[in-house]
């Protein structure tokens, strides 16, 4: 079982979470061309290795956070709250 540390709730089973996949830069929808927008929607790097991705604690605090994980062996390097630069496993409230 893979354990993912939620920055608010601490380490929990991965079955509590919903993965939103790797984080991609979102173009400004007012100025983006169709092809830029579809590139954002669909194209992915899908790396075999470290990936920066977004998760949702569906069966927990129901908050979003970011994580850095290795897709080859599911090592979680760090998780952090959105909009914050700080990284860490953040078990404090």
């Amino acid at each position: 079982m893979i354990v993912l540390p939620c920055p608010w709730c601490g380490p929990r089973n991965v079955t509590e979470f919903h993965s939103l996949g790797e984080v991609v830069d979102r173009p400004d929808p007012r100025t983006a061309t169709r092809s830029e927008w579809r590139t954002y929607l669909y194209l992915r790097n899908n790396p075999a290795g470290r990936v920066h991705e977004r998760w949702f604690h569906r069966a927990g605090c129901r908050r979003f956070f970011d994580a850095e994980r290795d897709t080859r062996d599911n090592t979680v390097f760090s998780t952090w709250r959105l909009g914050r630069e700080e990284t860490g496993t953040g078990v404090e409230a």
Binding site: M1, I2, N13, V14, T15, H18, S19, G21, E22, R34, S35, R38, T39, L41, Y42, L43, R44, N45, N46, P47, A48, V51, E53, T71, R72, D73, N74
Partner: protein, 435 residues
């Protein structure tokens, strides 16, 4: 109750130009009478040449089928198939061996039905018993919404001449008495989409049959040969770097699954693929009791009984991107619970083993086939959870693409450019857990 409709017989194009010989009843008797049977190796090994007309990356079902149809239909035999492991060791040997063509979109139905047609004649064409058992395929509906999708699929299928019909719980009970169709379970069975031509095939035999036939045509099969780079110049493919040396070539086909992104990265082609494992399991063998293949999208499970008597279970893909093929306990627990909900009588059966295979998922649950932005670099990827059933047609169409230089009509809708033009081929309703 539905009746099995007569399927159209093989057309002229289905007939191979030459027969693959060597295996026959007479040969079996001859070898059986010898104290040590003297069967020749089914395919040979060769030195790596420094030049091939076509290099196919990935020695699984899709790569070997492409090589076979290139050689047998188009006379292109200067072909190398490279695999970093052994033939059929990836998705081709890990899938749950189900074939069917009851898809949702007209593009999907036409494509998979062609594949089923090829499978029906494949054992004769390859002179290799692929053990295709057309035992029928049931997709269960546990809600009004899924019953509506089944009805939709049945009508799309019928218009295109595919035998497919919605049946009620009594008919389901007749086809598969072990299923609990009462209103007792949490998700009672309300009906099913019944697809008589669907069934199961021995997946290893398909790989071996194609490998042996390609070898007889002069294709070089290189196992244990990893591709480490692809050379390009002026937007064109010029060669392939492998762990055994460099090959110059003008045509490269990416027929890998699981690792397709890593191969695409070598030439800078970006795709929407996300890789995730799909887990499956097999039980101890028991007497035959389950005739059709049974699929439940709501319960995320599909079940079939092999010729040996084992039950093969599969699930949906794991819910996040991974290149890891480790099985998990929560998967097998969930799977067992769902299977028991369908067939409570199996509670004493033991699971022998579980495994996982990598699936390259696309946003619309359809594959990506055809040319890319790099001249001479073709892809046959993104096969998600439906690559096995499409193997023959994918090989046939990729071979046609290479021989003609332009995508044939059957695979035109599956081009990589559809994601930027927005013309997706949405097959989620028929492909996810619909094996």
């Amino acid at each position: 109750m539905t009746r099995r409709q007569a399927r159209p017989g093989p057309t002229r194009a289905d007939k191979p130009r030459t027969r693959v010989s060597g295996y026959s009843a007479a040969a079996l008797v001859r070898q059986g009478l010898r104290s040590t049977p003297g069967w020749e190796r089914a395919w040979g090994s060769h030195d790596l040449r420094d030049r091939y007309e076509v290099v196919i990356i990935g020695g699984g079902l899709h790569g070997l089928a492409t090589a076979y149809y290139l050689a047998s239909r188009h006379g292109i035999t200067d072909v190398a198939v490279l695999d970093k492991g052994y033939l059929g060791g990836g998705g081709s040997g890990r899938n749950t061996a189900i074939a069917r063509s009851n898809y949702l979109t007209p593009e999907g139905v036409a494509f998979y039905d062609r594949s089923l047609n090829l499978y029906e004649n494949l054992a004769a064409e390859l002179n290799f018993n692929i053990m295709f058992s057309q035992r029928g395929h049931l997709t269960l509906a546990h809600s009004d919404a899924s019953l509506r999708t089944m009805r939709w699929r049945a009508e799309v299928n019928k218009v295109q001449g595919v035998d497919s019909e919605v049946i009620d719980p009594d008919d389901i009970k007749n086809l598969a008495p072990a299923l609990d169709v009462s209103d007792e379970p949490r998700y009672p069975v309300l009906g099913a989409l019944y697809h008589p031509p669907g069934g199961i095939i021995r997946h290893d035999a398909v790989v071996w049959g194609y490998a042996r036939a390609s070898d007889l045509y002069g294709v070089h099969l290189h196992q244990g040969t990893e591709v480490v780079g692809i050379d390009t110049g002026h937007g064109k493919v010029t060669g392939v770097q492998t762990s055994r040396g460099r090959i110059s070539t003008g045509t490269v086909v990416n027929c890998t699954a699981g690792w397709s992104t890593l191969i695409n990265d070598m030439v800078g082609v970006r795709t929407p693929i996300v890789t995730a494992p799909l887990q499956a399991a097999v039980t101890e063998p028991v007497k035959p009791f389950l005739d059709p293949v049974v699929v439940s999208g709501t319960l995320h499970v599909y079940v079939s009984q092999t010729a040996r008597g084992e039950l093969v279970f599969g699930a949906s893909v794991d819910p996040f991107a991974q290149y890891s093929m480790r099985g998990s306990l929560d998967f097998i627990e969930g799977l067992a619970g769902h299977v028991l909900e369908l067939m409570p009588g199996l509670s004493k059966m033991r699971v022998l083993r579980q495994w996982a295979g990598l699936c390259d998922m696309t946003p619309d649950y359809s594959p990506i086939m055809g040319p890319t932005g790099v001249e001479g670099f073709h892809v046959d990827i993104g096969w998600g959870t439906y690559g096995f059933k499409a193997g023959p047609v994918a090989g046939e169409q990729m071979a046609l693409l290479i021989a003609d230089g332009k995508p044939p009509a059957l695979i035109e809708p599956f081009g990589l450019d559809r994601f930027l033009s927005g013309e997706l081929v949405g097959e989620k309703g028929a492909a996810s857990v619909g094996h």
